[in-house]
Symmetry: C4
Subunit: 194 residues, 4 copies
């Protein structure tokens, strides 16, 4: 199968991710009053906005590194990428729900489910790229055991389960995974240019 | 007539398609309650979102392949492309209607009409590119009889007609065409780079 | 003064214009009912959407040709471009008003005013580019007397004035100018590559 | 640490800034009536839109110049850039508030706070780039004492403080800083290409 250049995959993904990260701010509706009290009900919406902004920024960052390590793309990579964008596109919706409901158990669990599906989609995309490049490629070596990815998946799963009993623990897990990824993926950064 | 480079046509189309695919999620309004019941009324909206996300992703995918096989563009190609973007831009509107009305006959038929017009616009764009490259070009040979395109047009037409009597059949036809195109257009992928 | 490469001016303008042309569709609110009657009140909104889509597509098309004929940009060109984007960004607002008010005299006149300001901003941008390239440049020669630009400005001005007495005449003028520009600007297309 | 190419940082930033500058226009809701009176309540919203459009255009302009002077990027630069985009993404929200509340003391002060945080984020980004290039680089020399940046920070701080007593003075300070930056950053424009 022939491979295509990657520039449009990058620019389409950049466009979609840029819109996802920006339209979330539309959930911060104009307050009714003129004073500080009018902002108070927006606080949980703002906090969930900060959290999701961070998550989407992390995805863009890692996506940037991953595609940078990819030379050309094929149909599987394109659809794996579209699949990832689909789950990311649900983040504004679930962020709005968790913000407006001030984080009940169901919104909290569903937030974890969307993050879990996005993380699985990212893993699938990663595997599709490694498959196209061969198991002995620099990228496969750089990814190694991918413990960060596995730990994230486990954390999301745990968060979904505990959301119904100990909501604060689920929230803590979401913060924990975000911090885990704030450090850019040095494994790929060290790869030679291709 | 002189030909222009294609990079801005690509980046403008990427931008418009990225926005179309993303603003549809705004139809998923924040639920009023905090529990699972609050999500139930959103289910048909969500299903129509998935369907339209898939359709727009297919269009982007095929557009990507088609323009990749195009060297330079002229005025006809630019306007044929704008015409395609116009019909795609109506998909968020009709998706919202079909979702919120839980799929009555008129929304279902109009969904088919928008898809039909978009498919015809894509065919016009394809013809404009073939016309600019000559009938003996690699692209013309790769497209061949374009049976997939013709079958899609016939399916949309059939769906519009049956929407008023057997709505489930129209829905099935929409799913059928989407699956038909999920496989990327290998004909063009096999073309040599230009 | 040093000149900058033009690629980011192009990609930022593409982004802004892509968003402007797409968010207008948000004015087409989901109809309340399930049948054809529910669409009727949307007809004037739809018609104004088609009109403005066409205008913005024309601007993108001409902008594409104009910047294609520009080698490098300076600060004046960047701000003239931003000024054009500002007036274009008001088109979704005025389109929404003209659509929802079913075209009273004030919305019709203001529509002309926004188009007039955008056209003047385009002229300023064109002049800034010619000034940077010199009056003897290919671009200056290609633009010639710019009768199309001047006729458009005069038509908008006339439309604003007649909007209060003969609204249909103002609407006709808007359609006339759009048709005038549908033909891409061959003058610039014929320029040699730079 | 290895450095990455900057093209995707540019295109992602262009996308986010293009969306931020455009979605603000959604605050200009369709007026209820058909005459000029219906526009009157929109005037403060329009004025705050013009102001924020200008600020975001200035940021894009300076960002353009700054990244133009950057050869390759690292993780610190990417996160400093994301941090800047976060604060810019709050401008549509605070613009909507200041417009709809017709500028009470709290919205006016918070407007200054968002601008202050964005300006500090820009300074951090600038420092991260200088740090990556070395203190003896052309960029470091071109930035010099960065008196414009320091004066802006001081003006925002002053505006926040006086917003509760002399609101007009705060507004004047915001206009003053915007005018200060309207002139593009010649220091960087004069740098040799890299």
């Amino acid at each position: 199968m022939r491979l295509l250049p990657k520039n449009r995959l990058e620019s389409f993904s950049d466009g979609v991710i840029a819109i996802i990260i920006t339209i979330m701010v539309l959930e911060l509706k104009t307050p009714q009053g003129n004073d500080l009290d009018a902002l108070k009900p927006l606080l949980p919406v703002f906090l969930s906005y900060v959290m999701s902004f961070l998550y989407i920024a992390i995805y863009w960052n890692n996506h940037h590194h991953l595609i940078h390590a990819t030379k050309r793309i094929n149909g599987s990579i394109m659809w794996a990428n579209t699949h990832l964008l689909f789950w990311l596109s649900l983040i504004p919706f679930i962020t709005g729900w968790i913000g407006h409901s001030r984080g009940g158990p169901w919104p909290t669990a569903l937030y974890g489910l969307v993050l879990l599906m996005a993380a699985m989609a990212y893993t699938i995309l990663q595997n599709a790229i490694v498959a196209a490049q061969g198991k002995d490629s620099h990228l496969a070596a750089a990814l190694g055991s991918d413990w960060k990815g596995k730990l994230s998946l486990a954390s999301y799963l745990a968060a979904i389960i505990v959301a119904f009993r100990h909501q604060w623990l689920a929230d803590t897990l979401y913060v924990f995974v975000a911090l885990l990824w704030l450090i850019p993926d040095r494994r790929i950064e060290r790869l030679p240019d291709i």
